[in-house]
Symmetry: C2
């Protein structure tokens, strides 16, 4: 199984979304050019990226949309749903528990964990909420390898360490700290603070320039 | 007002978080080296980044933590809270409406918009929910320049176009499509699909390798 470049992986869902639109519009076939125009990625790059899925288009005809969608999903392992655990049942954690898109994108939250006694023993969106003490036992019983980290920044490193001790190999990190973990651990960060920093400063720069 | 490099902007919140920890631990002064170790950014880079805030440390003593925190917040314009509108009151939209961190990071959601008649006229977390038809009128009345886009992919471009027509200059985009907008519009994407693509594939590659 080949290690696919990071940027290719990040673009594949965009192609999938484009293909989904074309399909809904009634198309059966699509060219790389058309995908390129829709996603604003250069045609040459689209071709390179799609080559990683193993699907070969027909010259002057293009790709079967259904076939290409399946190939992308297979490449991303989205056809095979992985169970995962979520820690931190706050606003964000709850949103993720209710986010049905996750199931289409290879993840299913099978249990959530929190330290709040009012939450422990309850469910949210049908997902049971446990105390963190049960994490290790449950992850080995259920063969869970992926953890979603949705706790406040100050608790993030500690919880991440506990996840690792329990056999987690990949963390989807929504806290705004850079976790210090061994190199073989897979970490994907959704850093809203970094994004807000850029947004906020760029708006200030823009409004300042308008005033000049 | 100088245009600060993108990566510097993205790192500043990490430094802020580190400073916050040092402060909570009782420290008054901190060196760039200490920030570098905590955030895992190279010391030279930390110094360069902090220079953009205009604060100059004292050799061998370092920075006053409070002063540096204020300087970073000022640089990010986080000391000045901007009103913004959110469109799409689903799971994610609701999470953002309840996410108190936003207020600390320069944003306040003052109104939300949705097309669901069951939501329109109600509030969530104290924030009123309106029909999209009222967006333009309210944004000009309240001088709102920032829009949060939390609608499904298929509605994202259309809603973004409406935001622009109503005078929005910056969009925080949580949909997984690349918006086609004029160049002067500020767009920050939180692309969970791209992140899930990387996570999912890397886990599959890891587990595959273990089996070999």
């Amino acid at each position: 199984m080949e290690a696919i470049p990071l940027l290719t992986l990040k673009r594949l869902p965009q192609y999938l979304e484009a293909l989904n639109r074309f399909k809904k519009a009634g198309l059966k076939m699509v060219s790389a050019t058309k995908i390129a125009v829709f996603t604003d990625v250069h045609m040459t790059q689209v071709r390179k990226d799609l080559a990683y899925t193993g699907v070969v288009g027909t010259p002057k005809v293009g790709h079967h949309i259904d076939e290409l969608m399946q190939a992308i999903e297979r490449t991303l392992n989205w056809n095979d749903i992985s169970s995962c655990f979520l820690v931190g049942v706050g606003h964000l954690g709850k949103a993720l528990m209710g986010y049905s898109e996750l199931n289409k994108k290879g993840l299913r939250i099978v249990a959530a964990f929190d330290k709040d006694p009012d939450l422990i023993g309850n469910t949210h969106q049908g997902i049971p909420i446990y105390s963190m003490e049960r994490f290790e036992n449950l992850s080995s019983r259920l063969h869970v390898h992926i953890g979603i980290l949705a706790v406040p920044a100050e608790a993030a490193q500690e919880v991440a360490d506990k996840m690792l001790a329990a056999g987690i190999i990949a963390i989807w990190n929504f806290s705004n700290i850079k976790l210090q973990l061994p190199e073989h651990i897979i970490i994907e960060n959704i850093d809203m603070s970094a994004s807000l920093a850029v947004l906020s400063r760029r708006v200030a720069e823009h409004l300042h320039q308008e005033q000049l």
